[in-house]
Subunit: 202 residues, 2 copies
């Protein structure tokens, strides 16, 4: 069985116990770090952007922008160098590194309240599509935001939101000890801690 | 055939043409306004929060919070009154109105860079789960943010992000003319406008 199929066949409900009926897709999406170091081809990567593309946004503004570098291409090193050391340890085996950017305005020039939130929805679809494709998709906040903005020439009416590592599943055994111990689907707060009727009570 | 089944059975690819291979789920999620005015029960609503609950977030901070009001409950009017007039026209037939809030800090007190973005990912899962359940899920930015914060007692280390209307599908014919004309799945920018290698070029 390939690593990919193992990820797909994992009995996710051994790790994650939902409180209410929910589709397995949402439980099966998690953020592994073990990747194979293989490349992925352009259409595969574009399928992830395709899922992101159809996300909802205020007034259909679609503020999400994705700038990417594939391994073994000239841009790779620039993207890799943006990462915090703790992410470089494992993300070097990704097939693509992506900087997610949002446009802070509507096309009219009016400021958008929801540009980060809308872009997060697109990122969520990207991640779920990755799960459906048997890929590792791991979001990162551990990188140099200012340097990403200047190195990738992100204009001032746009905002750097996050980075993403995408790759084919690898062996957990190849991770350093401290990461191997964390290589499982993480738990969540209870429903009572995130959803309540009437007024804020968390 | 019930309205719900019609939504599920719509041949979405007549409306939306993906550029690359993508799961139908992402295409099938759209933002109708026609709702039946029926109630939905608590477990049904909780299934939507359950999908949101398993979204990814920086350091698993899970900054998303959902405050909701079901129709025919005392809180309903408070939530409804927050909406802009243009949304009140149709959202009055929702089964639940939800205010989405994000926590701006980690539990350590350290500010979070990605609280809106992470909360957007949770909202994306919420919306996709709604599609899987045959529900109408419609995000809204047209409401009074300041009044939502005060009326729902949202503390200062949290931020109001958006509202959501959830309901059972209704008849397009019951919408006013100007909304009936917009009651179809919306198009999107091209891939070239949202994803590119190397540097920002949009």
């Amino acid at each position: 069985m390939t690593a990919e199929r193992k990820v797909l066949r994992m009995n996710i409900r051994e790790y994650r116990k939902p409180e209410y009926t929910v589709d397995d897709l949402f439980l099966r999406r998690w953020s592994p770090r073990a990747m194979s170091g293989e490349e992925i081809d352009e259409p595969t990567l574009r399928s992830l952007f395709e899922a992101a593309r159809w996300a909802p946004s205020s007034n259909n503004n679609q503020p999400w922008r994705f700038i990417y570098a594939c391994r073994n291409t000239p841009s790779w090193q620039i993207f890799f160098d943006l990462l915090a050391e703790g992410n470089q340890i494992w993300a070097g085996r990704a097939a693509a590194l992506i900087v997610v950017v949002s446009k802070k305005t509507f096309d009219s020039g009016k400021p958008s309240i929801t540009h980060s939130y809308d872009t997060g929805a697109a990122w969520g679809s990207f991640a779920l599509m990755g799960t459906l494709m048997g890929l590792v998709v791991h979001g990162m906040q551990g990188f140099d935001y200012d340097r990403a903005k200047s190195a990738l020439k992100v204009p001032d009416d746009h905002q750097v939101e996050a980075m993403i590592a995408v790759g084919r599943p690898g062996k957990k055994e190849d991770l350093p000890d401290h990461l191997r111990e964390r290589e499982f689907p993480s738990p969540r707060k209870s429903q009572a801690q995130i959803a309540a009727p009437g007024v804020f009570r968390f």
